[in-house]
Structures are given as C-alpha cells and as structure tokens.
Amino acid sequence: MTVERGHALELLRQMVLIRRFEEKAAELYMLGKIRGFLHLYIGEEAVAVGAMQAFTPEDAIVATYREHGQALARGIPAGSLMAEMYGKANGCSRGRGGSMHFFDVSRRFYGGYAIVGGGMPIAVGLALADTLQGRRRVTACFFGDGAVDEGEFHESLNLAALWKLPVLFLCENNLYAMGTALARHQSQMDIGLKAQAYALAGEAVDGMDVLAVESATRRAAEAVRRGEGPYLLEVRTYRFRAHSTADPELYRTKEEVEQWKTRDPIALFAARLREWGLLSDADLTAIEAAVGREIEAAVAVAEAGPWEPVEDLLRDVYTPRTP
C-alpha cells in the first residue's frame, strides 16, 4: 500500500486530535466540567478517520452517541464540540444535546443518536430524499455491533436494499455491546455476512488499520455513489476505555485490553510511516504540539462560552411560526 506523505500526516493528525480531545474530555469529566454520559472512542480512531476520507461535503453523516471521532473527522471545530459537552450556548447543539447529540447541519452531520439502532432509519430516509430529488450523494450511517441485534438494523438494510438507496452502513464492531461480548449477543458473529440476507454488498475490514479502512470505505462509497444500492462495511475494532464513564469493566480482562493495545491504530500507523520513511520524530512532535494547541483553544472556547438564559427553556421544541 502506498500513501502520499501529506495525506498520511493528515490522517495521523486527525487520529491524534481525537485521542487527545477525548483524553482531555475524560480529565474534564473528572473535574465535573462535563457531565452526563461520556462514551470514549479511544482505540477506534482509525475507523472514523479512515472512513471519513471517502465522503464529500455533500454527503450526509449519521452517527451514534459515541460520535466524538466522527464529528472531529468531519471537521466540526473542537471548540464547538467541547462547548457542547460543557452545556454551553456556543456548543454545536447549543447545549441541548451534550456528548451524545452532536449536530452540525452546515456539515451535514445529522447526529448523535443515543437509542441503539435509532439513527439507521433516519439515514435511510436521508438517502430516500436524495434519490427522490435526483441527487447523487451518499449517506454514511455509523453504528455499533450492538445495533445489529436491533430490529431497526434488519429493517433498515432490507428497506435500503429493496429501494436501492445510497446508504453506506458502517458497523463499528468493537466486540462489545456495553458489557455483552459479541459471542453472547449474536448467533452469527460475521456481521459483514449479514449483508447477503438482504442482498446488498458487504465486506469486513481491519479497523485498526487506517489505510485499510480508508480504501475499503472509498470503494464502498464509490459503489453507492454509482447507484449500485447500499453497502454494509463491518469495521473490526476495539475500544480501549470503558463503555462510558459509568462502567467498572467487570466483563473483560485487563490482559485482553492490553493485547488489543498492541494494535493501537495510532501507534501502528506511526510505526508504518516511519518504516516507509514518511514520518520523523520532528513531524510527530509538530503534530502533537499543534493538536495540543487546538485542544487548549477548544477548552478556552468552552470555558468562555455563555450559558443559555433559562428564560429560553422552551425554545426549539417547535419551529417558530412566521405570522
């Protein structure tokens, strides 16, 4: 596999940005600056960063409650995301959503769904709207292995395939649905295979390898864009941190986690780039420094952001009517 140096460094930078952003978020959570549920993506960065390369600004993104990575990779400013987690009015959802509900319509980032599987029909509908209006765009739908258990997964694959809708279904298989291992929640653990049941294209890819994710997603997205119907991509990954801030991790061993950490997507990619002579110590230092400044600035944006006045409580339940 070959990769152009500038692009490689950009992929690395985005993964490092997600990693440091979340480490900072975890720290701020301990300080009580961020509350609610916080689902970290650490270990899975190659999925969002690799996949997002395949989408144009016209394409739509639908994600889950574990969506910090997708949001950053989509280019939503870190400050606007951090402010959202603070609950500030300058957050990407004006403080009404929090960590689980990031939205940025200007980037066609349609959320942030915290009901497992709940975003999938929405993605099907966005793709239906494109088809009916004759637009050649892709809707990317991210979801976890747990969502595969839900009826909406099966219904959505069936409907999208039946109507040949341009949806790219991206299953982030991190082997756990909260504390339930894949073997304990799926009778057929080969998720990519499920595409066959609904007559759509499907494949599995190593989610710890950012370049593999990128190229598989590009292939899939191009097929979808050509009008060949939906595609199911199973991306095999692992989350290094607890399910959420509320999880004591009783369901897996430290050894298992350590074993997976030897396949840390950032370390793997950095080592590979060094091997190929595309990355120097100075490059890495520069990336870390730039990311560090970006995170610092993001925290400053969140700290400085205003609280929405409580008089506005009932705002945005219904669309304001123009008399």
Partner: protein, 326 residues
C-alpha cells in the same frame, strides 16, 4: 358538496401530491392494495410508484425514513395502518421526530405528516381497537390532530403539510364511511382551534374524533328532555384550545368529557385538570368523564359496546351530574 370522510382524506392526499413535488406517500399497502381503509385507492395509478410507495412491514423504519426524508427536504406523508401498529414505531416518534429540533439546538425541523386509523367499535378485539392518541398528546415536539368530520379530515391534512414540525393525524376508523359537507375549494383548516359543534346552555360536552357523532346523538337525546347541551369538538389535542373550553364552562358551569381512551391517565384527565386549573370557580360541580372501561377490548359485540362510551352512557352521566349538582 356531500362526501365521505374517506373521500375527503383522499382528496387532500391527491391535492397535496398534485400541488407539491416534495410530497410523497408511503406505508403498508398504500399502493397496489389501495390502503387498508381504501383511502389511497387510485393514487398509485395517478401518481406512480415513486410517490406512492408500498413499504415492507417495518413500522419503525418507514416512520424513521419519513423523518430522514423530511430532514432531506421532502414532505413525506406516512400512513401507519392503525395506531395499534404504531407502537412498533414509538421509538422513532418519541425519540427522534419529537426531539430532533430540540437536540440539534434548533438546526433541524422535521416536516413530517403521519396518518393513522384509531379506535374501536368494529369487534376487532384487544389488539386492533386502541385509542392511544392521548399518549401521543403527552409528547412535546409533535402535534396531534383528531379530525372528526370530512371537512376537517381534508382541511387538517392540508394544514399539516404546511407545518414545519411533525404532525400526527388520528382518523377514527368508524368515521371513514360517514358523510358531511366538504368545500373542495376550501384551503387548510386552522390548527389548534376547538369547534363548538352544537351550542347549548346547560352543560358542555367536550369530545373529539370518533366520539363526536356519539356525543351529538347524546345531545339530541338530552334536548328531548329539555336539557340543552353544548358540544365542543377539540379537533386538536396538541396544541389544545383551552380558552374555548373555559369560555364555554363560564356559560354552562358544567362539563362532561367524552374520550374513547381508557379512563386512567386519559386525555380526558388532562382536559379535566385544565378546566379545574382555569375554570374552578365557574363550575357548579366536579367535571365528569365518560371513557372506555378499564379492560382490554372484548370481541363480543355486547361487551365491546359496554366497554366504549355510548350515547346512553353520556346521557346517564349528564343526568347524574344534574341530580347531584343541579
């Protein structure tokens, strides 16, 4: 022009499909079959399969796809065969349709219209007779309409399509063959306004949807005895036109609410609370309710009749009220 409720809904659907390219219809059996209640018969032939779409039996996903299509610039009209099956779509309705505008900090609107048949009275037993519109009215972020006349069936659907937010329309299944005057040139109905269907002085009977014909019959029976009942049709459960109700009880001083939902936690309970909060000193006695009995709907005709509000039970409730607080 005199027409049926069914024809009135169809006329609104076809007018909407004709006048707005963003409108499309989807649901189970809306196309080739012509709709479970024959409401969309002929529309597939007229507008084609792109715009009149038969869906798989996937309530959650085709309602959710309606939400997504609305976000994507379309004006979907989703038909859920009946309210009983809408329970499989509750997640999309409650967690997505109702919340997306809010959760996105006002970035999104969901201009979705969902129609469904509701109610009992056809001997369909415990899984096909629900009246759950009161549940839906509990949810901020959506609107709940209950047209009771052919004119409203048409006008409210046209009005719903102009709303930027999700609108749920409950069509009582026993109303489809009923007839009424419909002005085909009339535009959209006003949403959020109750209608006085029969003015009266002695007691206010408040109802909506499939219970309106029964309540009007009850008012006729009462009139024979010299009791002059006012009948108010709520038309819209959310938003609720409380001022019209309060103005009426300020004149009649008595209120009976007729609601096909079960009594416990019913929409009638909400109306009663609002009358108490806003009109306590206008009332001569407690508000009364005529609701469905606390039992899953029985199949046998005489038992089903006994479970549902009926003209006789409405009349009896008014008698009791006048006897105790006359």
């Amino acid at each position: 022009m005199k027409t049926t409720y069914r024809e009135a809904v169809r006329s609104a659907l076809s007018e909407a499909l004709r006048s707005d390219a963003r409108v499309f219809l989807m649901g189970e059996d809306v196309g080739r079959y012509g709709g479970a209640f024959a409401v969309s018969r002929g529309l597939l032939e007229e507008f084609g399969p792109e715009r009149v779409r038969d869906t798989p039996l996937s309530e959650s996903t085709f309602v959710g796809a309606g939400i997504g299509a609305a976000l994507g610039g379309m004006r979907p009209i989703v038909e859920v065969m009946t309210v009983n099956f809408s329970l499989l779509a509750l997640d999309q309705i409650v967690n997505n349709a109702a919340t997306l505008r809010h959760m996105s900090g006002g970035q999104l609107s969901v201009p979705l219209v969902v129609r469904m048949a509701t109610g009992g009275g056809r001997q369909l037993a415990a899984q096909h007779s629900h009246s759950l519109e009161g549940w839906y009215a509990h949810i901020p972020g959506i609107m709940v309409l209950t047209p009771a006349t052919p004119a409203d069936a048409r006008g409210m659907l046209l009005a719903a399509l102009r709303e930027p937010d999700p609108v749920f329309i409950f069509e009582h299944a026993t109303l489809y063959p009923t007839e009424g005057e419909v002005d085909e040139s009339a535009g959209p109905a006003e949403i959020g306004r109750a209608a006085v269907r029969r003015p009266g002085e002695h007691v206010t009977l408040i109802t909506y949807g499939g219970s309106l014909p029964k309540t009007l019959q009850a008012a006729d029976l009462l009139a024979v005895e010299g009791i002059d009942a006012e009948v108010i049709d709520l038309r819209s459960l959310r938003p609720l036109d409380t001022p019209t109700l309060l103005a009426s009880i300020a004149r009649t001083h008595r209120a009976v609410i007729v609601d096909e939902g079960w009594r416990m936690c019913s929409f009638a309970a909400e109306v009663s609370a609002q009358l108490m909060e806003g009109g306590f000193y206008d009332l001569d006695g407690p508000v009364a309710r005529v609701c469905s009995a606390e039992v899953p709907m029985p199949y046998a005709k005489h038992m089903e009749d006994a479970a549902l509000p009926q003209p006789a039970s409405i009349v009896a409730t008014v008698h009791e009220m006048l006897r105790r607080h006359g």
